[in-house]
Amino acid sequence: MCQDCGCGDVNLVPLDVQQRILARNEDTAAHNRKHFLERGIFAINLMGSPGSGKTAVLEATAAAFEGGRKLAALAGDLATENDANRLTRAGIRSRAITTGEACHLDAELVHHELHHLDLAGVEYLFIENVGNLVCPAVYDLGQAKNVVALSVTEGEDKPLKYPTMFAKADLVLLTKVDLMPYLGISLDAILDSLARAMPVPNVIVLSTRGGLGVDDWLGWLERNRAMAFEEVMA
């Protein structure tokens, strides 16, 4: 008998499942991760609000490496290929992933584009996610690290309002700090809310106008890539 709706004489049989609903995405992400490890590619899932400066950071990264490192990018966007075109002009081998309705990239979309991208010799793959502080954090893509671009113009309490994104971030790039003097926002207040959302609040304060913090970011990339592949060799 049914206790829930009193619908009559059916037998209800429980079936215990206990399965992660996104297990398929996680399997595909694991497959992507294998591709990256085999090829020595350090993959970054770059997330953040619309306009937080994700593409600008990647342009600055390419300029600062001066062609000394092989970079590739996949740029997720709802509707346009603008970011992929900007990155290609900056010297990064890039492809666009146009998601249409979807507010985030998933492992399958990334896997599909991976096999269209020439990955020979690539050391760093930047996956620029769709501008959104919620949905991209839910889907593993197979990246080695999650990086969130948070611009100072977004206010000091974004980490508290979007805790899921920041709980998963390995590094926050605090962008557009050249604008701080115009905003009357305090750096300490932003760092304080980051420490309440991130267990390990790694932050690099950065501006693509003038290049403050870009060297720290390159250092972080090289250190973390080296560590990632040391672990594999061990």
Binding site: C2, D4, C5, D9, V10, N11, L12, V13, P14, L15, D16, V17, Q18, Q19, R20, I21, L22, A23, R24, N25, A102, C103, H104, D106, V134, C135, A137, V138, Y139, L160, P163, T164, M165, A167, A195, R196, A197, M198, P199, V200
Partner: protein
């Protein structure tokens, strides 16, 4: 609105679980059982809006194996704790153990799990 894609994955998971049970029971004569209820657990820090998930399920279940199913959502509170002394770390505070100075570990609250299904078997 990734809640729609989560519902899609949920319906696929339900179909797979019911299919696996059918294969195990080996009674192909009986029509596929009706799914009566689906129980999921959603962590507070899973990045899923439960109200949107419920709405998405209402819309998306039509024509699927979940057409007649109710959705029960169990919301799991976030639980940060010290990986060394296992003391709970208060939300809203710094995510670091005040005694051990270890970064907090998320012990619960990021799950997106299909827990159980209830089937109508006549």
């Amino acid at each position: 609105m990734h809640e729609y894609s989560i519902v899609q994955s949920l319906v696929d998971s339900v179909a797979a679980a019911v299919g696996a049970r059918e294969a195990a029971v080996r009674t192909p004569v009986v029509p596929t059982p009706v799914v009566h209820r689906v129980d999921v657990s959603i962590g507070e820090l899973a990045g899923v809006d439960c109200a949107l998930l419920a709405t998405a399920f209402e819309v998306f279940r039509a024509g699927t194996i979940c057409e007649h199913a109710a959705l029960r959502i169990d919301r799991i509170a976030a639980l940060w704790e010290c990986p060394r002394c296992h003391a709970a770390i208060v939300r809203g505070g710094f995510l670091r153990c005040p005694s051990c100075n270890e970064p907090a570990h998320l012990a619960a609250g990021d799950e997106i799990v299909l827990q159980r299904i209830e089937l109508e078997v006549s």
